[in-house]
């Protein structure tokens, strides 16, 4: 309960900060909308040239891409920790975090909220509706609920992997350049995994399970029976990875060396 109320407290703090800079807010709002619109056009143009890919047709691939954008937007809004090493370890900001009575990771998530990323979800939904209507997908009463569960699962997978990456900074001194690489790898989850060879597929399913952010859960809505099993373990994988990353974090914090004054 305390953590829920803290979430809203920090949220209101975040909004106040944003409202401080009115002009900035408007500019950012429009640039976000614009960039999402460009993104949308880009997706349609790029996928306009694909037809059939290992049993997936063009609209199905667009649908998966659209689905992927939603958990990705949630992830970017809440797990904005790609610069954890520079900001918190090198500059020693973690000192301040650790002197407050809230779990350290939770505090960092709260401090680094970036809700404008949620605009990406709108693009994602638009893409899904566009592709879905062309495919003639029917909407069942339970679909929205499963959609939410899958989105949360996918966002947790993403969050888990990136928290684990951030944890490396607790043990290693040097800056790691793994983050950008991981962003690249995560993009592979946007496409049907059976187009890749076995090893890559295995990695994307069990090691860096980005397939659970895009193709697996999306397959459910596309009515691909053979993938249902994967679709339904999406939240399980999400929770497992996230819990593991938090445990790793807790160990890492004990290794924190602090920055010199």
């Amino acid at each position: 309960m305390f953590y829920v109320s803290m979430f809203f407290q920090y949220l209101s703090q975040y909004l106040k900060t944003r409202l401080q800079y009115r002009a900035d807010l408007f500019v950012e709002f429009f640039s976000d909308l614009l960039s999402q619109a460009i993104n949308l056009v880009f997706i349609l143009v790029v996928f306009g040239h694909t037809n059939l890919l290992h049993g997936w047709n063009r609209d199905e691939i667009i649908f998966i891409y659209g689905f992927f954008l939603v958990p990705y937007a949630v992830f970017s809004a809440f797990f904005n920790i790609w610069d954890f090493n520079e900001r918190y370890i090198v500059k020693g900001e973690l000192d301040r975090i650790l002197t407050r009575p809230i779990h350290s990771l939770f505090q960092i998530i709260l401090e680094r909220l970036e809700l404008e990323s949620l605009f990406g979800a709108i693009t994602g939904l638009a893409v899904m509706f566009y592709a879905g209507s062309r495919l003639g997908i029917e909407l069942h009463w339970y679909d929205p609920f499963l959609f939410i569960v899958f989105v949360i699962g996918g966002a947790l997978v993403y969050g888990g992997v990136f928290i684990m990456l951030a944890c490396i900074s607790f043990w290693a001194d040097a800056r790691t350049s793994l983050m950008p690489m991981m962003y690249n790898i995560s993009n592979y989850g946007r496409y049907p995994v059976n187009i890749y060879n076995k090893i890559i597929r295995f990695v994307l399913t069990w090691i860096l399970p980005f397939a659970f952010v895009g193709v697996y859960p999306a397959a459910f809505f596309l009515g691909k029976n053979e993938w249902y099993w994967y679709s339904f373990i999406t939240p399980v994988i999400g929770i497992l990875f996230f819990v593991f990353s938090v445990l790793l974090w807790n160990q890492g914090v004990k290794k924190y060396r602090g920055a010199g004054n």
């Binding site: 803290m6 703090q13 106040k16 020693g92 900001e93 301040r96 002197t99 009575p101 809230i102």
Partner: protein, 338 residues
């Protein structure tokens, strides 16, 4: 439980990688890294009673900050026992930090872009302080620190002195029984320093707040702390009253003379022949300084002798300053105080 802090055989080691020189060295570093274990804090033990104000001093790199970070639960000790407010800081961190306040002079607790009172409001929620407790306590704090007019300004627009006062208030929102101050007066002007000192004294008296203070400004320590713990290279080299330190190690006094007429050093020396006096001359300002033992009789004899021969323009009797004492200690490396 009368002790706010109990520390036994506390030790913190860091692994420091040292890189070899040159390109070949860099390649070798890829495979086998050289590292040395540096001991930042070396088996120190001390206790601080509730309500005490203790100055924790030492040169840069002596291990002050490392100790404070272990006491506040930020760093995990390599070995040894810590009990602060009856708890183990890094084991029960979230419960423990409710009972302490921390001010790091070089780091801000406050949110940069929003008004000070918004930061206070959020911290109040973070520490689960009720409205009534907040009003009772913080109204007083805000008045004493004189930050009322600053409350609706964003932190980025405050001057350093204004910000520091707000930081201090922010650290006290939950009225902690123990306060850690890591260089709270760094870079502040005299007036702000005085205000902060007065305020610290006041909360210490009013709430019996225990305060552990590190600073490079010894006047802070003189104004606030009866007890000092002195650290050098990770070891405690002195732990006791500041007064004892001064009495035992304040080696003698200084007499400074300025004369109306031009006088040379040899002549002055000649006057006090036979007395245990060491003369120095500051050529630029023509100040003659006599270093002598702290004995009332000797001081009068020197003054009489000098005044009888020369016309005096100005004269001062100085005690050896704490700063000088401490410099002496570091030069010698250790202290023997009874």
């Amino acid at each position: 439980m009368n002790n706010a802090i109990e520390v036994q055989k506390l030790r913190k080691e860091f692994k420091a990688y040292s890189s070899r020189s040159g390109l070949t060295g860099a390649f070798r570093d890829l495979f086998t890294r050289n590292y040395q274990i540096a001991t930042a804090v070396n088996d120190i033990s001390f206790t601080v009673k509730k309500g005490e104000m203790v100055g924790y001093i030492g040169e840069n790199g002596a291990g002050k900050s490392t100790t404070i970070k272990m006491l506040t639960g930020i760093l995990t000790p390599t070995s040894g026992q810590i009990s602060v407010n009856g708890m183990n800081p890094h084991k029960e961190r979230e419960k423990f930090v409710q009972t302490i306040g921390v001010v790091f002079g070089q780091r801000s607790q406050l949110w940069w872009d929003i008004a000070v009172q918004e930061s206070f409001r959020l911290l109040k929620k973070v520490y689960k302080v009720s409205d009534q407790q907040y009003d009772d306590h913080m109204n007083h704090v805000i008045r004493t620190l004189d930050i009322e007019p600053l409350l609706d300004k964003p932190v980025r627009k405050l001057s350093l002195g204004q910000r520091m006062r707000c930081e201090l208030a922010a650290a006290l929102i939950h009225n902690p029984p123990l306060l850690f101050l890591d260089e709270p007066t760094i870079g502040l002007d005299v007036l702000v320093k005085l205000k902060i000192r007065e305020f610290l004294k006041e909360i210490n008296e009013k709430y019996n707040t225990t305060i552990l203070l590190t600073t490079h400004d010894l006047t802070d320590i003189e104004a606030l702390c009866e007890r000092v713990i002195m650290l050098d290279e990770g070891n405690v080299i002195y732990d006791g009253a500041l007064k004892n330190l001064k009495e035992t190690l304040g080696e003698g006094k200084e007499l400074q003379f300025q004369f109306l007429e031009k006088v040379d050093l040899a002549a002055v020396k000649h006057v006090t022949d036979g007395m245990p006096v060491k003369w120095e001359l500051d050529e630029r300002d023509l100040i003659f300084t006599a270093n002598i033992e702290d004995s009332d009789e000797l001081i009068s004899r020197v003054i009489t002798a000098v005044a009888a021969v020369f016309k005096i323009k100005d004269m001062k009797i100085n005690e050896t300053s704490t700063e000088e004492i401490i410099r002496n200690i570091y030069e010698k490396g250790a202290v023997d105080v009874g």
